[in-house]
Symmetry: C2
Subunit: 420 residues, 2 copies
């Protein structure tokens, strides 16, 4: 970000945003380029990609999964629908600046040179955005009676059912609003959430939040497969942004789905999954590979081949037992075992210190995007929760579901369709 203060010292907020709108660039028919979604703009150094904020879809979904995450869920305060709309405008303005590598506002104050708080907190001054994306979502509770939005609630935005074995902690569940900030530089992701939280002061407050230090999925073919904290490659079979027809069918909401304002949007489910890694670490390699259904080193399915060989669930070994156990995670999670339905996974490894027993509070912050959680995530998770051999080493402690609206046109703001 430029270190020079903005000479105009323009404030954050809708003042800037509405001046854009006043300039007549409301972009409903502006003709988005799909290429821009996947192709970062080269930076001067060539090292720090920048993704456009204003686009047909919000970035941070099929964007190549960045290395680091800061995710936050918010409760909206006792404000009016108009004030909620202004918050979304202010957030859009700040997010569009930050994803471009600028501060949330000028780091100097809006109202004078020194006697007001800065409009940016400063810790990302001088840092490139490192692929920063900021993705906004709306929880089911936003559509209650408070803001007159009940009629806008998409039918796909269900409340998640209770799953067998759930050990949810109420303070880690739900939220009226969510923001996902991803960047290859964690300081940039933290800076984004911190400033958006600051901007929301008095209007919305953090309900829960989560840092993730390592991605556990690839979302494009160019990315190598990362490893989760079980030490196994994760997301080998994840859909990729290049699979356009699958992405269009499984990820993006359409006007025909019911809520027209969600066309081009998606639905995100988050699960904070604590792994009992100390128990896992004392388990034999044979058992670990049986649970996962893949080899630990190469990540090949136990039915043979290499990482990207399709698993063959019918191959039997000794005593006619299937080489891939009937309770193996790879079998139960595979689209072939889920009527072809799949989800776009985008999770992150986390470690939040340790508990009183000296065990690392570690695990997977699971994130997935899909068109219809009721037919995609829910049956998959029901199947896993009932049958997955991995459950012995997992505990779901947090949960969220949010409607992720389409991207904003230039001059407009994320979620404008809610108020149209």
């Amino acid at each position: 970000m430029p270190v020079t203060p903005d000479p105009a010292r323009r404030g954050l907020s809708r003042r800037g945003l509405l001046s854009l709108a006043g300039a007549g660039v409301l972009g409903a028919g502006a003709g988005f380029s799909l290429d821009r979604v996947l192709t970062p703009e080269a930076s001067a150094s060539g090292a720090a990609p920048t993704y456009p904020f204003f686009a047909k879809h919000q970035s941070g979904i099929i964007t190549p999964a960045q290395d680091r995450l800061h995710f936050a869920a918010f409760d909206v305060s006792d404000i009016t629908a108009g004030e909620l709309e202004e918050l979304l405008q202010d957030w859009t303005y700040a997010a569009s600046r930050m994803t471009a590598g600028d501060g949330a506002g000028a780091y100097g104050p809006a109202s004078g040179p020194y006697d007001a708080p800065p409009d940016d907190t400063g810790e990302a001054l001088g840092l490139p955005p490192s692929g920063l994306t900021i993705t906004f979502g709306f929880g089911p509770s936003l559509f209650d009676n408070r803001f007159g939005l009940a009629s806008k609630r998409p039918s796909a935005l269900i409340e998640l059912p209770s799953f067998p074995g759930d050990a949810l902690i109420p303070t880690l569940v739900g939220g009226d609003l969510c923001i996902q900030a991803c960047s290859d530089d964690p300081q940039v992701a933290v800076h984004a959430i911190r400033n958006l939280s600051r901007i929301a002061f008095g209007r919305a407050s953090l309900r829960w939040s989560q840092l993730g230090f390592g991605r556990t999925s690839s979302t494009t073919r160019a990315q190598s497969t990362p490893r989760n904290l079980f030490g196994f490659k994760d997301g080998t079979a994840n859909m990729r942004a290049e699979d356009t027809s699958i992405v269009n069918r499984e990820v993006w909401a359409s006007a025909e789905d019911g809520a027209g304002w969600m066309a081009g949007g998606s639905y995100v489910v988050t699960r904070k999954i604590r792994m009992t890694i100390e128990t896992w670490d004392r388990t034999s390699l044979r058992e670990q590979e049986r649970v996962v259904g893949r080899t630990k080193g190469e990540g090949a399915p136990l039915s043979g081949g290499t990482e990207f060989t399709a698993p063959d669930f019918s191959v039997a070994g000794r005593e006619d037992a299937p080489l891939i156990d009937t309770a193996a995670h790879v079998r139960l999670a595979h689209p072939d075992q889920n009527r072809g339905n799949s989800i776009l996974r985008r999770g992150y490894n986390f470690v939040d210190g340790n508990d009183d027993l000296g065990r690392l509070n570690a695990g997977l912050f699971f994130i997935c995007f899909q068109r219809d959680p009721a037919t995609q995530f829910v049956p998959l998770q029901l199947n896993l929760a009932k049958n997955d051999a991995m459950n012995e080493y997992l505990r779901h402690v947090g949960s969220g579901i949010f409607a992720v609206p389409p991207g904003a046109a230039e001059g407009s703001y994320v979620g404008a369709g809610l108020f149209a």
Copy 2:
């Protein structure tokens, strides 16, 4: 790290270590190269530095501060002195492997191909070490009556006094042992602490631990100055590894200091400092700069110049008030105001989710190395705790002090001097 299992499937632990020792490479007179401490070995890709584990000083002190941190403090279980010695041997063996880019052990099990737990947890398989350093320390409590080490306690390893305003949380204070893992890749740092914790099972358990996502100090001249979560550049005046005479005088313990086994070692003080960033963010830029004593953008002292201009504490402005406030952090922390004593700072920004009031649980995990905490950190912190204008926005919640022994010679182990 190589993905191919070690064909010998050699276990972790002293078995491997002692075979090194048996091979006659005990390196007491091996002639360490000081250059190796500062100059990483080039990797095949040229992108992932590797620092040698066996060296005169432990790495991770004057090593160029890596971007990410995982720090852990341990309580030793009810074991014998001999078992403690074995733990240090096992840790040394695993650390020497991991800093070289190998697993803690082969990822396959030691005792057979599949029917024992792996000797490495796997999440860093295929990742370069990215400058990984692993630094071990001993807390004052290690020198109580349990292990017969009381006579070995260095006089410099004091208990820290209570400082005015301390708000320490007992579970975030102290520890018999500590490990600092730094790497430019957080997954590599987490992998190191996780495996060393696993190896300690039954012998030592985590007391507290801390992830840091962004360094707040430079330790070499080649590094740019990072920013803390107040949004200001931090560590501009930090000593640098190149200041050899200062480092020798202020950082490294000498045989003349009393405890001969600590010669070439150092003493680390850690403080978990929670920042009330929401309050800070609503403070005027004028007040922020007054508190820090530097400009927010450039980081120049308020007495004038640019970032690296020495602050002039005597320059007065309007009404003869000093341009750098008498309570400004830069004034109170400056060596010129502390009888020339200085410390080598090596801290990290942290965010641990948020509290029940919706405030980010954020701040600085302060780390400093010095030769004598009683004359370096303690008077400095007493001065700051009494007078620093920044205290209004800070709360010290965690604290630790550890003797950091010299580096191990090849074939030996970290802390061998304790048992000699």
